[in-house]
Amino acid sequence: MMGASGIQVGDVVVIERAHLERLFDALRQRGYQIVGPTVRDEAIIYDLLRSAEDLPIGWTDEQEGGYYRLKRRNDAAVFGYAVGPHSWKRFVHPPALRLWRAERTDGRFRIIEETETLPPFAFIGVRSCELHALAIQDRVFLEGAYVDPVYKARRSGAFIVAVNCGQAGGTCFCASMNTGPRVTFGFDLALTELLDAERHDFVVDVGTERGAELLGDVPYRAASDAERAAVDDLVAHTAAHMGRTMETAEIKELLYRHYEHPRWDDVARRCLTCGNCTMVCPTCFCTTVEDVTDLRGQRAERWRRWDSCFTLDFTYLAGGRVRASAKARYRQWMTHKLATWIDQFGTSGCVGCGRCITWCPVAIDITEEVRAIRESESTGSAPSPGKEQ
């Protein structure tokens, strides 16, 4: 179908860097609150943006296990960095949320359900791995027997401006996980930044009618074959320069064979059980609830907060905790990401974004932990699969 802009879904056009602000204007006019990357406290985080000038223009990041530094680029790239400590989950699955309030009068109480009326989000600069992460959280919150109304409202209204990664981060391994670097689904518009001495443009893939309609307000021209080829080359280059790799063949079976493995003891000696990995992970969805009352005990509230399987009380049952040791908790996390998730939701729980590696204070590396267990099978140092005692 032809949109008002004369553009169709599937078209590829070019927007000049100078007109990026027009895209922001068009989103704002349509009532979106624009969220995207910006520099704050020496990191690139996601927050409300007033204009395209709030983007991390001319910045890049250096990432390694337990290491993240911002660096000036020698150009004015707008999307010249990888993912930071934030992910979109903080907007669709907020870190703290009041689920309901209750009021007590005369020994009875009344529950007042929260209703949110937020303007819809426009997410700017969503990477391919992050689109996969959103799709994974969709399975948790939208596609089961129960639907999370807050997630649904925030997610379904969101306008998504994705970005093809022009360079891989030091801890990225999306190519291993088949989740990137090329954006393939789940976007309204997908940008690829082309920047050299002569030009600074965005090649734009139009993913939806909504995306096509928006372009009615933004100057553009059709993309040439050379420009389309440049996008392919750029993405291929990124794919070839991943900071990490992970062998995923039969990874579920591999981990199911090794619930008992000395490597879990080894990693437990290093892991601080701080839970950073779960907080930065774009797919980790666990929460806890907190019931609070006012001082007079007349009003109560229930809050839902992000939780982590690394917290000691996560598995508390009267009389003890199921996963008391660090070993059991790390094993739960990694086995969930890479194995049980597949049984639960039909996909891996890891999209290879590398955040858990970068933000681990002691540089524990999920790709390395998998490698160690996998290699122990071929070197014969793995214990034979546990037999019932």
Partner: protein
């Protein structure tokens, strides 16, 4: 996701630490009881509530399912439904006071309010068990989620072969539902075997773990469906004993317990390997979890 207001109709003491709450919906709307005339409940304290509106029905449930019980400002806990699935006016929950929320639930009086979300989770395979002998094995408070199964079986007794309940508690004083157990026992076609870990007082029954009852319980192993609820070790050993007697592994079902914050598959707390105990369980086929049960701290 929001609790519905219920009122305590009666609180029955079962043992020194265990009690049964009988709950009724606080209003027909379920969400809101503003229409109750003011001051009504003070007059109604301690006596069964005479609702100003026609009594509304409780949601239908299947034996083995649970509810989340919310106590104003204190917290919310998963508790199995222990009442008769044929009773559409009252929800029964048998609760052992072990901590903050359960102790506070014990302090409730008739007329007090609790929030209820549910019913949640899987149920005992009672339809699949038709035509078979049924062995119910309970340890301690584990009898609570099995009681609705007993009611259902007794109501449709002709559909089943031999039915036997094996029940173990720590001491004779911990035996739940004493009068009902005696009544069930008096049925000529319902066997009840009880054992205690420690015989105190004038106990003259069995002493020892519940597993020891399996060998002499009257059932035909090859045509039996077993359903059990109790501590995990108990269930593991009991399952092994059943298999030893010849019950096929895939005819054994257990009910599991894990920390639960949401009961609807969102919070992640209840995971047991790939299983979400809240939505895939609490009743699970033993075959599927047999190996996982042997892994420590899973």
């Amino acid at each position: 996701m929001v609790p519905h207001p219920y009122r305590v109709r009666r609180r029955r003491r079962e043992t020194h630490d265990t009690f049964t709450l009988e709950l009724q919906p606080a209003s027909r709307e379920g969400m809101d009881d503003e229409r109750l005339p003011l001051g009504q409940e003070d007059a109604e304290r301690d006596i069964p509530i005479a609702s100003p509106q026609p009594p509304s029905t409780v949601p239908a449930f299947l034996p083995g399912q649970f509810n989340m019980l919310y106590l104003f400002g204190v917290g919310e806990v998963p508790i199995s439904i222990s009442g008769d699935p044929a009773d559409s006016t009252t929800l029964a929950h048998t609760i052992r006071a072990v901590g903050t929320v359960t102790a506070a639930l014990r302090a409730l009086r008739p007329g007090d309010m609790v929030g209820v979300r549910g019913p949640f989770g899987s149920h005992w395979p009672l339809s699949d068990a038709e035509g078979n002998d049924v062995v119910l094995i309970a340890g301690g408070i584990g009898l609570a989620p099995l009681r609705p199964a007993v009611y259902r079986i007794l109501a449709e007794r002709a559909k089943y072969g031999r039915v036997v309940l094996l029940y173990g508690t720590r001491t004779p004083a911990d035996i739940l539902y004493r009068r009902e157990l005696a009544r069930w026992r008096s049925h000529f076609d319902f066997d009840v075997l009880i054992t205690v870990d420690h015989a105190l007082g004038n106990w003259r029954g069995n002493v020892g773990v519940v597993t020891t009852l399996i060998a002499r319980a009257p059932f035909d192993p090859l045509n039996t469906v077993a359903m059990m609820c109790g501590p995990e070790v108990m269930m593991r050993f009991a399952a092994r004993e059943l298999v030893r007697r010849g019950v096929p592994v895939d005819r054994i079902f257990i009910s599991m317990e894990r920390n639960m914050k949401c009961a609807i598959g969102f919070c992640g707390h209840c995971q047991f390997g790939p299983t979400f105990v809240c939505k895939d369980g609490p009743v699970l086929p033993y075959r599927g979890v047999k190996d996982l049960l042997t892994i420590r701290e899973l």
